[in-house]
Point group: C2
Chain length 243, copies 2
Amino acid sequence: MNDSIKVYPHVSVDCVVFGLENDHLSVLLVERSGHDVHNQMQHNFKLPGSLIYADEGLDDAAHRVLKELTGITKLPLRQFKSFGNPSRVNNRKDILWLENAFQLKIGRIVTVAYISLCKIDRQLNKDLEKYTSVQWIPVEQIPSLPFDHNQIVDEARGEISQWINRDPSIVFELLPPKFTASQLRTLYEVILNAPLDVRNFYKRIAVTDYIIPLEEKEKKVSHRAARFYKFSRTIYNKGKQKI
Amino acid sequence: MNDSIKVYPHVSVDCVVFGLENDHLSVLLVERSGHDVHNQMQHNFKLPGSLIYADEGLDDAAHRVLKELTGITKLPLRQFKSFGNPSRVNNRKDILWLENAFQLKIGRIVTVAYISLCKIDRQLNKDLEKYTSVQWIPVEQIPSLPFDHNQIVDEARGEISQWINRDPSIVFELLPPKFTASQLRTLYEVILNAPLDVRNFYKRIAVTDYIIPLEEKEKKVSHRAARFYKFSRTIYNKGKQKI
């Protein structure tokens, strides 16, 4: 029997909420405030997360914590990965903040990370508006975060790229019902975090049977009006079977 | 501050190792022995799993536990999902066994589940041979397991079905380099846990460019000799890009 299992780890949940607005992907972060080792007031951002209660399941904890810290209710959260590197809580500043916040002697924390990918719409912003310490931070401007939160965000970005490769229909839920080829491409580029070859992409649209060209075109635009497309869930579902 | 976070949960890892041998899918289970509430000696099966040490990461814990309990080394284990229902450890028998095994007062345990999908070959059986309490149990004969281990195995089966839908190349790693259409279909049926329409499946093989028919046929078989096929990783990788 190894005595080290008698050092109990804590368990937390952390939520990586990706929000799309126009052509931009952002992550929802919360500001934490506390005194540092020199007793200076500090503010910085972290993922919305907290320790779980003894009497709640992991999914329940994720929804509770997201609601408590950001006001957001009714957002689907998918469990994605647990992070348990013993050194993930080893920064003196992080430990001090935790011990102040929870009034607990904190050793190790294993965190279960959740992801959501959503459109930043009016309803969502209404949920958020009372929580002044919450902010959408564009993914390319994420600052240095405490614990291993930068790593969690990075891996979560990789995970959503895999989601859309696996199930491209997710992309269409983030677009308006009628969209242009350019909107679709930009969304792909934002989520995959990589530029796509424009010509190849348009060729792929042309041969993808569930992306249906409409007669309608953009109106009142300064550039040449682009054609609209729509997504057919029926055709998409028929084509999914493969070896 | 909710006091209930001061009840520390324990963290464990559990390994769901699926093994393929001929046309059969089995799960690796370990026998646990202990005295029940009536002080009767009991034997039953569970997933190989244990509490993590304070100084090890989750992946390391999974590999250590699998090695300690089954002798298996060098098997890729993929983290799959954490299970943290507060009632997953509430059976009196399970608690008694845990408290005896670990000499700890056990409340709640959050477990991080890992999966492996492998061929049961000579090397693997050599690893296992000294561990008499380990057994391959065919998936259709899994008994009632302690904790939520039946649920974990069920969800893990769902997960491997998704793996092969997402990345069919996994299937070919479990087959010999030359295989018949019938071997491929059987493997699919075993992993997906559902019968496939034979004619449709053969049609799909015919139009799948990365499954290449060979001139060679089976030898010395009592039925009509079937054609062999091989898998082309090169063609497979080329075809992966999609919208």
